[in-house]
Symmetry: C2
Subunit: 435 residues, 2 copies
């Protein structure tokens, strides 16, 4: 197959003219397609409608009103239960591969937990270190990139300086991570999505996790912010296995180095799930003591709904299998069209994740913004180019995040065909300019 680059200028021009014609056809359709965010589709949300029925006014009052757990009696409808329903802690601990006593279960948003941890580090400090807001030099966070835009946005919000760290096929560039963390006192954190990383789909390897656990941070309040958002979100079996950061850190004696986050946002309801933070008992006690000033307790009834509906790890896995049956064909469809239309053209590469919510497209330099704009002009909204980099700055302007979960299979087919067309057009325009 001939790559676009190898075509003569005349052939490129002829091809571009025919692609413009094709593009006009898409514009004429008046499409309204959205592949911006990792949102579950309506049919995925419907998988959890059974959760509406686990509590009713006919439910045994002993379940709703009082839940006996290890000698504790709690009225789940009332105030209290600061660290969460014991059964919910056990469930989330299973999902996160940690112990229940290392887990605090909160409200519907794990992002909110992360925000609060950074916020409290600013005002209260971590482990008796100076609160970051009181430091003269600005605090820095390492940001493996491309990464999760909301991590970066909240970091920027606190005036924390973000240092991009390139992602490799098995995780962040650990040489750079080590150099920054082990030598710079102002480096206080690193954002990680260690399984099915947003957006590139990578799951960190055993070596990478070991290297994380072996860091010797200059700052005593440096922590790894391990956002395990896709812990059980495989759509291919067997999925990727993420090595335990907890076990690795215990082995190296760095037991307080990690904070882990997870939620059921992409298990049950994206807007009405439960979230959790896990860490060493020492860190958890620090988090708990602050939480006691912030709230009287989480929504334990929603935690109970989750426990009654999902039951245990087998229940979670069976439920996630249903998600997989909806998600897998959507990812397959995008990849089929990318493979059929772009393979061998020399224009870019794309990822083939076994789980998570994203496909990452890496194209030619200085094409991503224009591809996203061209798609938008024909009615397909993609994640803004650059959004997956700190400060929205993709140095090569080459990365585009594709989120196939929300649209229907039919919409995905149209959207993917429009996407590859936009890739071809913009890439050709760039090639022609170089001539």
């Amino acid at each position: 197959m001939t790559t676009y680059r190898e075509l003569s200028k005349a052939a490129q021009e002829e091809l571009l003219a025919s692609l413009y014609e094709e593009y006009k056809g898409f514009v004429a359709k008046g499409l309204k397609l959205n592949m911006t965010r990792g949102k579950p589709a309506p049919e995925q949300l419907a998988l959890s409608h059974g959760m509406f029925d686990v509590l009713s006014s006919k439910t045994d009052p002993a379940i709703i009103g009082e839940l006996l757990h290890e000698g504790q009696v709690d009225d789940l409808r009332n105030y209290g239960g600061l660290v969460g329903l014991p059964e919910a802690r056990a469930l989330m601990a299973l999902i996160m591969d940690v112990a229940p006593e290392e887990t605090i279960v909160c409200g519907n948003s794990s992002l909110n937990i992360m925000y609060d941890l950074v916020s409290q580090a600013m005002t209260q400090g971590i482990a008796n270190q100076t609160p970051w807001a009181k430091l003269d030099a600005p605090v820095k966070f390492l940001c493996p990139s491309p990464g999760y835009d909301r991590h970066f946005a909240l970091t920027a919000h606190f005036g924390i300086k973000m240092i991009p760290i390139p992602m490799t096929a098995e995780g962040p560039d650990m040489y750079l991570v080590e150099r920054h963390v082990n030598t710079d006192l102002s480096v206080k954190g690193i954002w990680c999505v260690p399984k099915y990383a947003n957006p590139c789909g990578v799951t960190y390897s055993e070596d990478i996790v070991k290297q994380f656990a072996s860091l010797t941070p200059a700052a005593k309040d440096f922590r790894i912010y391990w956002d395990n958002a896709y812990a059980v979100h495989d759509f291919t079996q067997p999925g990727d296995a993420l090595p335990s950061i907890k076990a690795a850190c215990e082995k190296t004696g760095n037991k307080n180095l990690w904070y882990m986050f997870s939620s059921t946002s992409k298990i049950t309801f994206a807007g009405a799930g439960i979230s959790a933070v896990a860490s060493s008992p020492e860190n958890i006690e620090e988090i708990r003591s602050r939480l006691s000033l912030q709230t009287i307790g989480p929504d334990k009834l929603n935690q109970l709904r989750h426990v009654l509906f999902l039951k245990d790890l087998n229940g979670v896995r069976a439920h996630m299998q249903k998600h997989a049956e909806i998600l897998a064909p959507k990812f397959k469809k995008v990849l089929e069209i990318l493979d059929a239309e772009l393979s061998g053209l020399g224009l870019g590469e794309w990822t083939r994740p076994k789980g998570g919510y994203f496909i990452s497209y890496l194209g030619m330099s200085r094409t991503a913004k224009r591809i996203v704009q061209l798609a938008k002009d024909a009615g397909l909204i993609l994640t803004e180019a650059g959004a997956t980099y700190p400060y929205g700055n993709d140095p090569y302007d080459s990365n585009i995040r594709i989120a196939p979960s929300y649209p229907s299979l039919e919409e995905i087919e149209v959207a993917s065909r429009l996407f590859v067309l936009c890739v071809k057009i913009i890439s050709l325009e760039v090639l022609l300019k170089r001539k």
Copy 2:
């Protein structure tokens, strides 16, 4: 009637001996009574069991999945809806006597909203003023006292200096409030529970609210933190009417001066209600823009449950009437026993609120701590003496908060009799020491 003070030493000693005997009888019962917190009783929580049924897997998907509101379609199960379900904003606006567009509906804890506002003032600043964490001099908050212990605890947590302001029968001492607010640049806030104040039950008068609205703060980022926790929580009809702080501030041109908070914690489920913040459109936009970094949206399904269950202000009032029927006899019982046992003895005074969750007992100086301890030794746990003052410091050691909502009527009778006995014993001991 002869007051205890007027009794001879011998008569006081004889009386005290007989009261000790009576006390021994209570100790022998091995009681376990708790009147510490303003927690709804199990039968109050049971009033909202109907809310378990408003959503089921058989509910019309158009209600759960898509709620049409003023042209917006939202999938309530999914991410989004940062400022809350429109219908929930309308409902909470009615409860708070403000407009829906001035209202943001959040998770289960209004305390959490207050914490976040203070926290964000520390790190981000209010209205483009310097973030409080960056100021050289510590920020100060005015604390009408006795007041809500959790307000004070969170204020202390942020290192904010608390200035106690005495409470009068119609609200805080406004002479002092004005003096501090209008002259001191470091005074950034005041905590108010303006209706059925925790713990003294006072509802701020028209004059007080007007004086609040007429403040001319030295600090541009001074705000009134108006915790309208008991907005619809009357148990006597007609209840107190709280003048509108919003209307008053609009009249004086101080439109950005107020933040209002409320929740359904004491309407539906204490642990699984919905909370709200209201303020001027300008302040709300500032809060919204920060919220966008903190979360992708609140639990809109729980907001929907509330809307379907409570419906409108009439629904809320009818529901609160049921609470009143449970609460009123409990308050009546405490007051009956206080009246019968302590009236005319010259030992103290107590409040007679028309709503809210507390009776406030104001006794002789240097008695509160010992009364609370004596009650505890016989199995009755009361709110820690001093807890209702900044830094836990009741300057006269004379105030005790009585929370009659949670125990049963039978328990309240026993607890109240034990309480008045402890008041008599400690007061007599103090009087005897003075002889």
